[in-house]
């Protein structure tokens, strides 16, 4: 995946690691910025039906390589993903 390429203006890049790719069929994409992290899951749920409960709720989410807390209520404030940011969806992998 060409994860090193920057997102175009007005967008952020989102990376889907490991099993997350099974839900999205892609390893990365660009989504419109700004977007509050509280609305990240519902935004993805619209694109990929079922992804919220089957994947996102057990994932670690990072913005620019740093973990972020996802507020339970999507109207909560919380951090806002900015243009050019890199978001990563990191599901727990337990096999080995």
């Amino acid at each position: 995946m060409s994860t090193s390429a920057k997102a175009p203006p007005g967008h952020f890049k989102i990376l889907y690691f490991g099993p997350a790719e099974n839900h999205t069929s892609i390893t990365s994409e660009n989504l419109p910025a700004p977007l509050s992290v509280a609305k990240l899951f519902s935004t993805l749920e619209k694109k990929y039906g079922g992804i919220k409960t089957n994947l996102l709720e057990s994932c670690l989410v990072t913005v620019n390589l740093e973990y972020v807390d996802i507020p339970e209520d999507e109207n909560d404030e919380g951090m806002v993903i900015q243009e050019g940011d890199e978001v990563a969806i990191i599901p727990p992998v337990s096999s080995g």
């Binding site: 694109k47 990072t62 390589l65 740093e66 990563a88 990191i90 337990s94 080995g96």
Partner: protein
């Protein structure tokens, strides 16, 4: 005549002086030879135990040679090597992660290594579990691993635990070690190992791998008591909620590349050696956790390695916070049900008996002359279908029928041939007979059976096809 007498006199005195010099040289030679013999004697005496005359080295001479190349690395040194020798380390899982990790840790001279695993070596393990050889198929993994490791480094004390780690035996096994490596393959064991390490104050080095990706985290380091926010985060701090059971993919189902899991196991060994050599097995007075991070490896990504910063201990963590409810008693007594917490996958059982046919019945359909008037749909992923498939079957991977890509009602899927009569039966098949049932249900939901068409699956999938019909079928 007088002249001749004086020349003879000179020669005589010259001979006498030379002879005297020769004597002195011979004495010197004798002294040097005597000293050499004495030195040789002393050296040979040193090699005999009990006859040491000088030098009281903390390691055996063989160990200086064996570990020299790592001891001269500034971060290790003689002190680091002595710490490695004094340390005891537990490896949980002697598989794709545990094998390479154990090889490097034994090679590095960790004094005591325990290995926990209840499985036996299978042929499908050999491409990645490098301590097990073809001749060891059928042998207990722990015994196979220790046989390899003992021949690699006989200085190490190995302890075999020929069982799986469970809430009942976890305390008894883990308490004897300084540091733990989680090399297991399931969410239940990941939470159990993390919990017991929090309770017994052990640092934990956890790794995992699937297909071409891997994760590495050093947890509970420094291993401060629960409720102390200066301690390192635990597995529950990073992943408080387990993934839904039906979404958990094993290496057997999802696949794994040997070097990918190998890299992750080798990284675990590296973190263990760093931790031990630096004297960080226990927290030092007033020590605070450094920034915890998770290392992600994706073989096909650019860059292949990414390090993400993790949170410190979670304030409301069930295991390591003050508010958490985890105790040794609740863990050991079994009142903490890890299987329940992580969810159970039961074999799919959604079809009625009349919606399923045996593999041998399908063979009769195939050979009964009615072959043209049915469709066999194989819902395995394409990579599996390409390895082997039943003649005439079409491949519609299960993943292409998921989520938003699911089938719409009253829309005839493109993979149904135009020439297929609308009442011709459709049979579904997969590897084990789970996914095929789900697809049968979906096809009926969108009304593909409305013209009296039979839709059903081959019970227990291609596994039964091999048993009942075609023994030459290549099971992978």
């Amino acid at each position: 005549m007088d002249k001749a007498t004086s020349s003879a006199e000179i020669l005589r005195s010259q001979i006498a002086a030379t002879e005297e010099e020769l004597g002195r040289l011979k004495e010197q030679l004798a002294a040097v030879e005597a000293k050499e013999a004495e030195d040789l004697n002393r050296l040979s005496m040193q090699e005999k135990p009990g006859l040491v005359t000088q030098g009281n080295w903390p390691l055996e001479l063989e160990e200086y040679k064996r570990y020299g190349r790592q001891m001269i690395v500034p971060n290790v040194g003689i002190q680091g090597q002595l710490r490695l020798k004094a340390a005891s380390l537990l490896i949980v899982g002697a598989g794709g992660l545990g094998c390479p990790a154990a090889a490097y840790i034994a090679g590095a001279g960790v004094g005591t290594i325990g290995i926990v695993d209840g499985d036996i070596v299978e042929t499908s393990n050999l491409h990645r579990q490098i301590l097990h050889s073809t001749a060891k198929v059928g042998m207990k993994k722990v015994e196979s691993a220790i046989e390899f490791l003992a021949s690699l480094n006989p200085n190490v004390r190995f302890i075999a635990h020929n069982e799986h780690l469970s809430p009942q035996n976890a305390k008894e096994i883990v308490e004897n070690y300084d540091v733990v490596l989680d090399c297991t393959d399931h969410p239940t064991s990941r939470y159990l190992i993390s919990d017991i390490c929090v309770l017994l104050h052990k640092p934990l080095i956890s790794a995992s791998a699937l297909r071409t990706d891997g994760q590495l985290i050093v947890l509970n380091s420094p291993p401060l008591p629960h409720g102390d926010p200066s301690g390192g985060p635990c597995y529950r701090c990073v992943f408080p909620k387990p993934p839904p059971a039906e979404s958990v993919v094993s290496c057997g189902d999802g696949g794994i590349l040997g070097p990918v899991v190998g890299i992750m196991g080798v990284l675990q060994a590296l973190e263990a050696i760093k931790l031990i050599a630096a004297g960080k097995l226990t927290a030092r007075e007033g020590e605070k956790a450094g920034e915890a991070s998770m290392l992600l490896f994706s073989a096909n990504s650019n860059p292949p390695f990414r390090s993400v910063r993790l949170r410190a201990r979670r304030q409301k963590c069930f295991a390591c916070s003050k508010e958490g409810g985890l105790t040794l008693e609740s863990l050991s007594s079994g009142s903490l049900d890890y299987v329940l917490f992580c969810g159970v996958t039961t074999p799919v059982k959604i079809l009625e008996p009349q919606e399923r046919i045996e593999a041998r019945e399908y063979e009769r359909v195939l050979n009964g002359g009615k072959g043209k008037d049915h469709l066999l749909v194989d819902v395995r992923e394409k990579v599996q279908f390409d390895i082997c498939s039943i003649e005439g079957s079409v491949n519609v991977p299960f993943s292409t029928l998921q989520g938003n890509r699911a089938l719409a009602a009253d829309e005839k899927p493109l993979w149904i041939p135009q020439t297929l009569p609308t009442n011709a039966p459709i049979y579904l098949v997969c590897r084990l007979g789970n996914d095929s049932q789900i697809v049968v249900r979906k096809l009926k939901e969108i009304g593909l059976d409305k013209d009296g068409r039979y839709i059903g699956d081959i019970k227990d999938g291609l596994k039964e096809w091999k048993k009942q019909v075609d023994s030459s079928w290549p099971e992978y």
